[in-house]
C-alpha cells in the first residue's frame, strides 16, 4: 500500500522556486528520508504534505487524500514534529500530552506514549524546565499521542549533541517497530543512512538521487590514486583502481623507482553526498 505519493510537486515564493517538480512515493510502514542541505526545499515539501501550504503545481496524496482538502479526517491520521515550535511552557509533560490527546478521536494511552519517548521521570516537570533533547522527545510524544499512521519529522535532531542524536535515532527505530510510516527530513547523511529505508537527496528544489542508502553509496565517484613524482603531486581518478594500481606499481618497480607517498583514496559517504549536492545533475526520474 502506498502511504504517500508526490508527483511533479512545485512551489515558489515570489521569484524563488523552492520546490521545482519533485516525485517520490512512500510505502506503508516505510521510513523515508528527505536528505539535503539547508534551503534545499525539504521543509517546504513537508509543510505542503502536512497541509500548511498550498502547492503551485503537481499532484499530492497523503493517506489517499489531497492534504489541501484533507481537513480534520486527515489530521486524525497524521503526526507532526515541526522544525521549530514550542509547546506551552507553563504546562507539565503530562498536561501537554493530555491537552493534545483530547484533540483526537482515538488517542493512544498517555502513559504509554510518555514512556515510549522516555519521559516518565519528567512527567510532572514543566515544559520550560526540559533540556533541548527532552523538548524534542516531548514533540515526538505529542505527535504520537493521536496514534497516527503517518509521521512527519522535520529535522528531528538538528542541534542535538551526539548522545541526544543516538537517543532520537532509537526513538525513530521504535516507530518503525510500531509499524508507522515516517517521512523524515535531515541534513545529516549518517542520520538518513541509519534510519531510512529509502532516501531522496534534494538540492535546489530538485531530487538529484533516490534509492536505498546502499544504492546511494553504490554510485560512488571514482577512486583516487595519489603519489608524488619529481616533487609533483599526481592524482589519478579511476573506476578500475586494481588494474591502474598494478600498472603503476609494475612500471615503477620495473624501473626501480619508488612511488612516493602512494595512497589509494576511496570516497567517504560524505564525499558521495557532497558530490551529489555540489554538482549532481537533476536526475529526477522518481524511480521507486
Amino acid at each position: 500500500m502506498t502511504a504517500l505519493e508526490v508527483r511533479g510537486l512545485r512551489k515558489s515564493y515570489g521569484a524563488i522556486e523552492a520546490v521545482a517538480g519533485i516525485n517520490f512515493t512512500i510505502e506503508e510502514g516505510e521510513v523515508f528520508g528527505l536528505l539535503g542541505p539547508n534551503g534545499a526545499g525539504k521543509t517546504t515539501t513537508v509543510e505542503i504534505l502536512e497541509g500548511y501550504r498550498k502547492r503551485d503545481g503537481g499532484d499530492v496524496t497523503v493517506l489517499g487524500v489531497d492534504p489541501e482538502h484533507g481537513g480534520r479526517a486527515l489530521r486524525e491520521r497524521i503526526g507532526v514534529v515541526l522544525q521549530a515550535s514550542d509547546l506551552p511552557a507553563a504546562l507539565t509533560v503530562l498536561e501537554v500530552h493530555r491537552m493534545f490527546a483530547g484533540y483526537y478521536a482515538h488517542p493512544r494511552d498517555i502513559d504509554e506514549v510518555i514512556s515510549l519517548v522516555g519521559l516518565e521521570e519528567k512527567s510532572g516537570a514543566r515544559v520550560k524546565t526540559l533540556s533541548g533533547g527532552q523538548k524534542r522527545r516531548l514533540d515526538l510524544g505529542v505527535a504520537l499521542v493521536g496514534d497516527p499512521e503517518l509521521l512527519f519529522l522535520d529535522e528531528p535532531t538538528t542541534g542535538f549533541d551526539p548522545t541526544a542524536r543516538r537517543t532520537a535515532w532509537e526513538l525513530v527505530r521504535s516507530l518503525r517497530a510500531l509499524g508507522k510510516t515516517v517521512l523524515l527530513t535531515t541534513h545529516y547523511l549518517d542520520e538518513a543512512q541509519q534510519l531510512a529505508d529509502r532516501v531522496a537527496v534534494i538540492r535546489d528544489g530538485r531530487i538529484v538521487k533516490q534509492g536505498s542508502p546502499a544504492e546511494l553509496i553504490g554510485v560512488a565517484p571514482k577512486v583516487e590514486i595519489r603519489y608524488r613524482e619529481d616533487g609533483r603531486d599526481i592524482v589519478i581518478e579511476t573506476e578500475e583502481p586494481t588494474r591502474m594500481l598494478a600498472e603503476l606499481t609494475g612500471t615503477a618497480a620495473a624501473a626501480g623507482r619508488e612511488l612516493e607517498a602512494l595512497e589509494v583514496v576511496r570516497p567517504s559517504l560524505e564525499d558521495v553526498y557532497l558530490d551529489l549536492i555540489d554538482n549532481g545533475d537533476a536526475d529526477d526520474n522518481g524511480s521507486t
Binding site: Y52, R75, V80, S85
Partner: protein
C-alpha cells in the same frame, strides 16, 4: 461540545498557570480600583465617585482582558509556534477560537465580580441596578474588545513588542474614556478623541445600565458604535491574521 469543554479547560489552565500575565490581566484593574477608590471621594452627576470609578474600572478591565491580554497571549503563542502546532491537530479552528473567547469571558466576569465585591465591601459602592441588563453589556464589551484583540494580534509582529503596543493603546484609551474618573473637565481636544473610542461608549452604556438601571436595548447608538469597532478589528484579523510565526 466535548472538544470545546476540553479546550476551555486547557485555556483556563494556560491562563492561570502563566503567573505574569494572570497578574497583569486579572489583578491590575481591581488593584487600580482599590487605589483610585481610596483617593477620590465625593459625588459626580448625583453618583458617588466610588460608583463611577467602579463602572469605569470594569470597563478598563474589559479592554485589558479581552483586548490587551488576548492580543499578547495570541502573539506569544503564534511566535513560539504553538498556534502552528495546534493547526496540525484535528481540533477545529472554530472550536479553538471559541474556547479562547469563552476563557476570556470567564476571566473578565470573575474579575468584574472581584471589583464589585471590593466596591461593595470597602467603598460602599452599589451593585448593578439592572443585573440582567449587565449580561448583554458584558457580552458586547468582550466581543468588541476581543475582535479588536484579534485585529491587534494580526498587526503585531513580535512577542517582545506585543505588551508595549497594546498598553500604549489601552492605557490612554482608558484614561480618555473615563475609566479613571470623570472626563468632563478634560480639554476639548481630548474629549473629541474620546468621542470616537469604543470604551467611551461601553462605559456610557454601563453608567446607564449599572448605575441608572436603564434597559440594554434602549441604547442603540452605543451598541452600534461598540459593534462597529469590534467588526473593524475582525475585518483586520480576517485579512491579516496568521497562525505561523512571523519572525522565525
Amino acid at each position: 461540545m466535548r472538544l470545546f469543554l476540553h479546550e476551555l479547560r486547557n485555556q483556563q489552565r494556560l491562563f492561570w498557570r502563566n503567573r505574569e500575565s494572570a497578574v497583569f490581566v486579572f489583578i491590575f484593574p481591581p488593584m487600580l480600583y482599590l487605589l483610585l477608590g481610596a483617593v477620590y471621594t465625593g459625588t459626580f452627576d448625583g453618583f458617588r465617585l466610588a460608583d463611577v470609578l467602579l463602572v469605569g474600572l470594569i470597563g478598563y478591565g474589559c479592554a485589558n482582558t479581552a483586548f490587551a491580554g488576548l492580543a499578547i497571549t495570541l502573539v506569544i503563542r503564534r511566535e513560539s509556534g504553538v498556534l502552528k502546532r495546534i493547526r496540525a491537530t484535528p481540533l477545529p479552528t472554530v472550536t479553538y477560537l471559541s474556547a479562547v473567547l469563552g476563557s476570556t469571558l470567564f476571566v473578565f466576569v470573575l474579575q468584574m465580580l472581584v471589583t464589585i465585591t471590593l466596591g461593595l465591601t470597602l467603598y460602599g459602592a452599589k451593585g448593578p441596578e439592572n443585573r440582567l441588563g449587565m449580561i448583554p453589556v458584558m457580552l458586547l464589551g468582550v466581543a468588541c474588545f476581543a475582535g479588536l484583540g484579534f485585529g491587534a494580534t494580526a498587526m503585531i509582529r513580535s512577542s517582545e513588542g506585543a505588551s508595549a503596543v497594546v498598553n500604549l493603546i489601552v492605557l490612554p484609551m482608558a484614561f480618555l474614556s473615563g475609566s479613571f474618573g470623570p472626563t468632563r473637565r478634560y480639554p476639548q481636544v481630548l474629549q473629541w478623541i474620546a468621542d470616537v473610542l469604543p470604551l467611551t461608549y461601553l462605559i456610557d452604556l454601563m453608567n446607564d445600565v449599572y448605575l441608572r438601571g436603564e434597559s440594554f436595548s434602549g441604547h442603540p447608538k452605543e451598541i452600534a458604535i461598540i459593534t462597529a469597532w469590534g467588526l473593524v478589528g475582525l475585518a483586520i484579523a480576517w485579512r491579516r491574521f496568521g497562525w505561523e510565526p512571523r519572525e522565525r
